[in-house]
């Protein structure tokens, strides 16, 4: 376009210059015939400029026309081109837009997929971590934990469960619990399966455990508090269950011991109280006819009141020693002197039962540093226990020895009584414990021997011991550090 316009401009300039020069020549020769002649003579003098001018005008017209034409063509082409371009542009744009949109959609989709993937990855990591946390919690629990799927196959179990039911908890994945546990404790398997069937969120039951021979024998006779919780999926369908078995054998024993204690203590408290009430009423009603009978009644009331007081003191002393609140007053003392005093106190009780108490002559030197009242209590408890469980006609022997090598003074009380079964010996110093086999032999609260242990071991840093043979008798005793071995500063 630019080159066309330049050409047209050059031609126009050339034609205009031709015309001016032609016109100038005409004007120059018009004044003289010669001139004209010259022009006329020749015949060409005027024609040439005119032709030149006409040619110039033609050229100009042509140029203008061509310019116009070229302009038109250019415009047309341009128009056509622009139209086509526009059409092409429009289609292309739409295409590009579509492609772009597609690209955008793909990109968005890809981004979403990537995000989704990342989310899934995070979710998997979280789930994995959560599983690890759950495993850590379950594995660290002392209670037996078992998790099963909807087909009653094992998903997870801790060591306690493996030990209890006798299977390898790390190598039993996806095994049926009926196969793993059924034989050892069908009661448990039945509970789990019935809980799932009932669709109950949680079921609780106490299970007496009696495993098959060759399994965990220590679990035999134990009682477990078993809680089975069903696991539900998104559709509220049961997809498994988790069971926790908590050993409540000890709690049961403690609870039973407490009940027995309350029962024994109430009986022990009520018995002297019954005597006091009855004898008081008899006196008030004038049933004691003579002075001697009245004195006897007063004496009974007094003794029973003392008995009641002793029992309450025993309970309180144990409680005080255990809580560390008891006031201890230690001094140098001779064990044999203390024994002799207590032997005299128990004498009448032994004579009532026709039991002989054999002692030794008191050694008058202070072997130990003790709270006299407390050690007297220890001695009287051991002596009265021996008399209580020895049949009429038997004997009780009490002895003291000083073991310089061990640095202790040792006191032993041996009887010819009923003895204690071997399996119960280790429990005899436990609070509230009563030897079952001897329960009918005599009454008691199960506090006496526990008080002995508390006084000797907790207050005097000594030790208690017992040996026994059923039908032959028992020997109870204690050792106390010799005064010479004990730090003087100890109060």
């Amino acid at each position: 376009m630019k080159s066309g316009r330049s050409l047209y401009l050059a031609v126009t300039v050339f034609v205009v210059l031709g015309l001016f020069s032609g016109a100038a020549a005409v004007l120059q020769n018009s004044g003289s015939e010669e001139g004209w002649r010259f022009a006329g003579v020749q015949g060409l003098g005027l024609v040439i400029p005119v032709l030149f001018a006409i040619g110039a005008v033609g050229v100009i017209w042509l140029g203008w026309s061509s310019f116009r034409l070229s302009g038109i063509i250019t415009s047309t082409v341009a128009w056509l081109q622009s139209g086509r371009d526009e059409a092409i542009d429009s289609s292309a744009n739409r295409l590009i837009e579509a492609i772009n949109a597609s690209f955008d959609a793909s990109a968005n989709q890809a981004a979403e997929s990537e995000q989704h993937l990342m989310d899934s990855h995070i979710q998997i990591q979280l789930a994995h971590r959560q599983q690890k946390n759950t495993e850590a919690i379950i594995y660290s629990m002392r209670d037996a934990v078992i998790v099963i799927d909807e087909y009653d196959r094992l998903l997870m179990a801790n060591e306690a469960a493996g030990k209890l039911f006798g299977f390898d908890h790390k190598d039993s994945h996806r095994k049926s619990i009926s196969e793993l546990i059924g034989r050892q404790c069908s009661q448990f398997v039945d509970l789990v399966i019935s809980s799932k069937k009932s669709k109950a969120r949680a079921t609780r039951r106490e299970i007496d455990f009696s495993p098959a021979a060759g399994k965990d024998a220590s679990a035999t006779g134990r009682v477990f508090d078993c809680v089975v919780s069903c696991v539900f999926d998104e559709g509220d369908q049961i997809c498994g269950a988790a069971a926790v078995l908590h050993d409540i054998t000890r709690e049961r024993e403690v609870s039973q011991m407490k009940n027995d204690f309350v029962s024994h203590v109430s009986h022990e408290l009520k018995t002297p109280l019954a005597s006091i009430t009855a004898y008081s009423e008899m006196l008030a009603d004038g049933e004691a006819e003579d002075e001697e009978t009245r004195k006897e009644f007063y004496s009974v009331i007094q003794n029973q009141a003392k008995r009641l007081n002793r029992l309450i003191e025993d309970i309180l002393n144990i409680s005080r020693i255990e809580s560390g609140l008891i006031k201890v007053s230690k001094e140098q003392a001779s064990l044999t002197m203390l024994i002799e005093e207590q032997r005299q106190m128990i004498k009448s009780y032994a004579e009532e039962k026709n039991i002989k108490i054999i002692g030794q002559k008191p050694i008058v030197f202070d072997q130990v540093r003790v709270d006299k009242d407390m050690i007297s209590q220890v001695i009287v408890n051991l002596l009265s226990n021996a008399v209580k469980y020895t049949p009429a006609g038997g004997s009780v022997r009490i002895a003291t020895e000083v073991d310089e090598i061990e640095g202790v003074a040792r006191v032993t009380v041996s009887d010819t009584g009923v003895g204690i079964p071997e399996e119960e010996i280790e429990h005899v110093f436990e609070k509230f414990y009563r030897v079952k086999a001897n329960d009918k032999q005599a009454k008691g609260t199960g506090l006496g021997l526990n008080l002995v242990k508390q006084i000797v071991e907790k207050v005097h840093a000594g030790t208690v011991f017992v040996t026994s043979k059923v039908g032959e008798g028992s020997t109870f005793g204690f050792e106390l550090p010799l005064a010479t071995r004990e730090p003087a500063a100890v109060a």
């Binding site: 029962s263 109430s266 009986h267 009520k270 018995t271 109280l273 019954a274 005597s275 006091i276 009430t277 009855a278 004898y279 009423e281 008899m282 009603d285 049933e287 006819e289 009978t293 009974v300 029973q304 009918k440 032999q441 005599a442 009454k443």
Partner: protein, 130 residues
């Protein structure tokens, strides 16, 4: 007053003593035992009109004694009064089943015990007369 015989059973000697005095003072003949086994033997021999027994005793408890008495045709109808230091030691059903006339909680009143014994004796006399 009467030659009625009462068997008193308790391992607590002071209780046996005070009940015996109360009953003797009121004209009853009293025999004693300090455990269930001994009481069962005496009951079979002496056929007391009423047995007053403690619940918790060595060798044989009061409840075991009553069961033994009820199983023996000779002793099955002897009325029994049970003394117990434990509340709810014997249920109502058990009491009815074993035909225990009265359960008295320790501490008890000897006067009240005498009243129960007299009621039983009186009821027995009425049955005999009737």
């Amino acid at each position: 007053m009467s030659d009625r015989r009462i068997l008193v059973v308790d391992d607590e000697i002071h209780i046996v003593h005070v009940v015996a005095i109360k009953l003797r003072n009121n004209g009853y003949e009293v025999v004693t035992a300090d455990n269930g086994a001994q009481a069962l033997e005496i009951a079979r021999e002496e056929m007391p009109d009423v047995i007053v027994t403690d619940y918790q005793m060595p060798v044989m408890s009061g409840l075991e004694l009553v069961k033994e008495l009820r199983e023996d045709e000779k002793t099955r109808d002897i009325p029994v009064i049970l003394l117990t230091a434990r509340s709810f030691a014997v249920s109502k059903e058990q009491q009815e089943e074993l035909q225990i006339s009265t359960c008295l909680s320790k501490p008890f009143s000897p006067r009240e015990l005498l009243g129960y014994i007299e009621d039983i004796i009186h009821a027995k006399e009425l049955v005999v007369e009737g």
